[in-house]
C-alpha cells in the first residue's frame, strides 16, 4: 500500500529532475540577460565617450571684427594689379591683421595690459592672414573699404572656452599665456569672440598640425562618398551576377566547390592584405594614381564582394523552390525565372547584404593607408568622374590621422569625425531598412 502511494507523483510538487531542468533554464536566461546588459553598457559607454569628446568639434570660437583694408599697405603700387598685389605675403597680412585687432580693441576700450602686440595677434588662427589675403586677391575692389571679417580664433583660445585649456595649463604652455586667455575673456564679453556652429568642420579641408581650429572633414567626406558610389557601382552588379550564376546556373562540381570555399575564405582575409594587393595591382601594375578614390574603391570592392556574394546567395537560396517550379511550369526560361521571380523576391536580402558590406567598407582604414589615402590633401577633388582620379582623403583615415597629432584639439576633432562617420553608417542602415520594407511590402 505504502509503496503504491510513493510511486504516485503529485503534480503540485515538482520532482528533482524537473527542478534541475527549470534551474538550468533560469541559469541560461540569466546568462542571456547578463550578455545583453554588458553589450548595452559597452554601447552606451562608447557613444557617450564619443559624444562628450566630439560634439564640441562642431562648434568653434570665431573672431568677428571690422577691418579697413588699407590700400597703402596691401597694394603698394596702387594700380590694383593682381600680380603686384600678390607680392604682399601672408606675413604682411599677418602684421596688418595684428594692427587691426589692436585698433579694434582700443576702439572698444578693451585693455591689452600685460599682453604684447604679437600675443594679441596670436589670438587669431594662423589661418586668418591667408583667408584675408585670398579674399582681397579674389576681389581687389574691396581695397579701401571696411569689411566685416570673421575668422577662427586660435585653437588654444577655443580650447579655453571649451574647457580643454585652463589657466594652469596655459602657464606651462609656451604658445599661450594666462594673460592672453584673460584678454580672450574680455573680448568674449565685448562680443568680439563668439562660439558658434562651425560649417568649416564639415565642409573645409584638413589643416596642418599648427592650426587645428581650421581643420575640416570636407575632403574626407567627399572622398568617402566618391568611394562608396564607386563601390556600389562595381560591387553590386559583379556580386549579384556572380551569385546568380553560382546559385542558379553553375553545375555543382569540384570546380564550383573550390570557388565557394574561396569566397568564404576571402570574406575572412584581413583587410590590410587587400591593401597590399591594391598597391601591387592597381598602383604598381595598372598605374592608377595614388591616394585617389578610384583605387580606394577598387580595393574596397574586392573586400566587399565576398560579403555581397554570400548574402545574395543566401537570399537566393531562401526563395521557395515552388516559385521557380511555378515559373518553369508555365514555360519561363531559366533566365526569365531568375529575373522575373527569384531576383525580386531575393532583393531585400541582396540590398541588406550590399549595404552591410558597404558600411564595412566605409569604416575600413587599413587598406586605404597602404594605397596612400593617408596623404595630407588640401585641394578638393573635382566633380565626378574626373574627381575619382584626384587625390582625396577618407573619413576613417582622417580619424586615424588626427589621433596621430600632438595638439589635444585634434582629439576633439577626431571624435567629431567619428560622430560624422557613425551618422553616415546610421543613414546607410536606415536606407537598408527602408528599402527592405518597401520591397517586402510589394508582396
Amino acid at each position: 500500500m505504502s509503496a503504491d502511494a510513493a510511486t504516485t507523483i503529485s503534480l503540485l510538487k515538482p520532482d528533482s529532475r524537473t527542478r534541475r531542468r527549470n534551474a538550468a533554464e533560469a541559469r541560461f536566461r540569466s546568462y542571456g540577460i547578463a550578455a545583453i546588459v554588458i553589450s548595452v553598457f559597452a554601447l552606451v559607454f562608447l557613444l557617450s565617450s564619443v559624444l562628450t569628446n566630439g560634439l564640441s568639434a562642431f562648434t568653434q570660437t570665431f573672431l568677428v571684427m571690422d577691418v579697413t583694408l588699407d590700400a597703402a599697405v596691401l597694394d603698394k603700387s596702387g594700380n590694383r594689379d593682381i600680380e603686384e598685389m600678390k607680392k604682399v605675403t601672408t606675413i604682411g597680412y599677418g602684421t596688418f591683421l595684428q594692427k587691426a585687432v589692436i585698433a579694434e580693441l582700443e576702439a572698444k576700450g578693451i585693455s591689452t595690459e600685460g599682453v604684447s602686440a604679437a600675443e594679441v595677434g596670436g589670438l587669431l588662427s594662423k589661418e586668418a592672414s591667408g583667408q584675408l589675403r585670398d579674399k582681397v586677391l579674389a576681389d581687389p575692389g574691396l581695397l579701401g573699404k571696411t569689411i566685416r571679417f570673421e575668422t577662427y580664433a586660435t585653437g588654444r583660445v577655443d580650447g579655453y572656452f571649451k574647457g580643454r585649456v585652463t589657466m594652469e595649463s596655459a602657464a606651462l604652455d609656451k604658445n599661450t599665456s594666462p594673460e592672453q586667455l584673460e584678454l580672450a575673456d574680455r573680448m568674449r564679453a565685448a562680443g568680439l569672440l563668439t562660439v558658434s556652429f562651425n560649417p568649416g568642420f564639415l565642409f573645409g579641408p584638413d589643416a596642418s598640425e599648427l592650426r587645428p581650429e581650421s581643420a575640416g572633414l570636407g575632403i574626407a567626406i567627399l572622398g568617402s562618398a566618391y568611394m562608396m558610389i564607386l563601390v556600389l557601382v562595381m560591387a553590386l552588379p559583379i556580386g549579384v551576377a556572380a551569385s546568380i550564376y553560382l546559385e542558379e546556373f553553375a553545375a555543382r562540381n569540384r570546380f564550383t566547390d573550390i570557388i565557394e570555399v574561396n569566397i568564404a575564405n576571402l570574406a575572412a582575409v584581413p583587410s590590410i592584405v587587400f591593401g597590399i594587393l591594391g598597391l601591387a595591382l592597381f598602383i604598381n601594375f595598372v598605374g592608377l594614381p595614388q591616394s585617389t578614390p578610384v583605387v580606394g574603391a577598387l580595393v574596397l570592392t574586392l573586400m566587399t564582394l565576398p560579403t555581397i556574394i554570400i548574402a545574395t546567395r543566401a537570399s537566393l537560396k531562401s526563395v521557395p523552390p515552388s516559385i521557380r517550379e511555378a515559373a518553369l511550369g508555365v514555360g519561363a526560361s531559366k533566365m526569365q525565372t531568375v529575373f522575373h521571380h527569384v531576383l525580386p523576391l531575393a532583393m531585400p536580402g541582396i540590398l541588406t547584404g550590399t549595404i552591410i558590406g558597404m558600411a564595412q567598407a566605409l569604416g575600413e582604414t587599413a587598406p586605404l593607408l597602404l594605397i596612400g589615402m593617408v596623404a595630407f590633401v588640401r585641394d578638393y577633388p573635382a566633380a565626378p568622374p574626373e574627381g575619382f582620379f584626384d587625390p582625396a582623403a577618407a573619413l576613417p583615415v582622417q580619424v586615424y590621422n588626427w589621433t596621430q597629432r600632438a595638439d589635444p584639439a585634434f582629439v576633439e576633432r577626431a571624435s567629431g569625425a567619428i560622430i560624422v562617420l557613425l551618422v553616415f553608417l546610421l543613414i546607410m542602415n536606415i536606407i537598408a531598412i527602408v528599402l527592405r520594407r518597401r520591397f517586402e511590402r510589394r508582396w
Binding site: 515552388s322 511555378a326 508555365v330 514555360g331 526569365q336 510589394r442
Partner: protein
C-alpha cells in the same frame, strides 16, 4: 505479358487517339533508379490518374512529361515519350516550348507573389501570345472563367494572388496553367493541401476541363481517382503495375498488388 499489353491497347482505343505515348521510360536520380521501364499511353481529352503508394515514382513520371526533371541535378531520363508522335526528349526540343504546351499544376498552390491578373497574364506574355492590353484582358478573363474563379475575383484582379484562400489559389494556378493554351495539363496532387469543399470544386473543374485538355493527375486519394478519371495507372516501387479504364482497375484489378493497394492492404 504480351496478352496484358494487348489488353491495354484495346482499352485505350476506347478513348480516341493517344496524345502521349511513353515507351520504356527509365529515370535515374544519380545512382537511384526511380522509374523502371514504364510504358504507358495517355489518350486525348480524358483524365488519366496515376495512383500508388508514396515514393512509387508517379510524381517523377508526371514530371517527365513536361521535362521538369531537367531542372534537377543528376537526374537522367532514358526511353522515349512522345507528344503527338514527336519525341519530347529529342535534342532539338526546347523544354521551354514544350512546357507552354504541357502545363502543370503543383501539389501546393504556388501563385506568384504578384497580382491575380499578372499571375494569369505572365505565361501568355512571355510566350508572346497576346498583343496589347485588350487581348491580355480577354485572355485573363477567359482563363479565370474556365478555372471557375472569375466571379470570385473579378473585382480584385490587382490584389496579390497570395491573398486568396487555398482553394482559390489552386484554381488561380489552374487558370495560370491554361492561359498559355496548353494541350496537356499535368496535376501533381492538386487537392492534397485543400479542404473537402475546395477539393470538390477542383474535381468538378477537372471534369469540365476534360473537354479541351488531356489531363494527367497524380493523386493519393483513390476516391478522387475513381471520381475524376477515365483511365488509371497504378505505380509501385518505380514500376507501372497496371493501367486501364478506371472502372476496371477499381472493380476488377488484374494484378494482386493493385488489388491490395485499392483495398488498403498496402500503401
Amino acid at each position: 505479358m504480351e496478352a496484358v499489353a494487348k489488353d491495354i491497347s484495346v482499352a485505350t482505343d476506347a478513348f480516341g487517339g493517344n496524345k502521349i505515348e511513353a515507351t520504356n521510360v527509365q529515370v535515374y536520380y544519380g545512382d537511384a533508379h526511380a522509374i523502371k521501364d514504364v510504358s504507358v499511353k495517355i489518350s486525348e481529352r480524358s483524365v488519366t490518374s496515376f495512383i500508388g503508394p508514396s515514393g512509387c515514382g508517379k510524381s517523377t513520371f508526371l514530371r517527365c512529361i513536361n521535362r521538369m526533371n531537367d531542372t534537377i541535378d543528376g537526374c537522367r531520363v532514358d526511353g522515349t515519350i512522345t507528344l503527338d508522335n514527336e519525341d519530347i526528349y529529342d535534342k532539338r526540343v526546347d523544354p521551354v516550348q514544350l512546357r507552354a504546351r504541357v502545363g502543370m499544376v503543383f501539389q501546393k498552390p504556388n501563385p506568384f507573389p504578384k497580382s491575380i491578373y499578372d499571375n494569369v497574364a505572365y505565361g501568355p506574355r512571355i510566350h508572346g501570345m497576346v498583343r496589347g492590353k485588350d487581348e491580355t484582358d480577354e485572355l485573363v478573363q477567359s482563363s479565370l472563367k474556365r478555372a471557375g474563379l472569375w466571379e470570385e475575383v473579378k473585382d480584385r484582379l490587382l490584389e496579390p494572388g497570395t491573398g486568396l484562400s487555398g482553394g482559390q489559389q489552386q484554381r488561380l494556378c489552374i487558370a495560370r496553367a491554361i492561359a498559355t493554351r496548353p494541350e496537356v495539363l499535368l496535376m501533381d496532387e492538386p487537392c492534397s493541401a485543400l479542404d473537402p469543399i475546395a477539393t470538390a470544386i477542383i474535381e468538378e473543374l477537372i471534369d469540365e476541363l476534360r473537354e479541351n485538355f488531356t489531363i494527367c493527375i497524380v493523386t493519393h486519394s483513390m476516391q478522387q481517382a475513381a471520381r475524376v478519371s477515365q483511365k488509371t495507372a497504378f505505380f509501385h516501387l518505380g514500376k507501372l503495375i497496371e493501367e486501364g479504364p478506371t472502372e476496371e482497375i477499381f472493380t476488377n484489378p488484374r494484378d494482386k498488388k493493385t488489388q491490395d493497394y485499392i483495398t488498403g492492404r498496402i500503401g
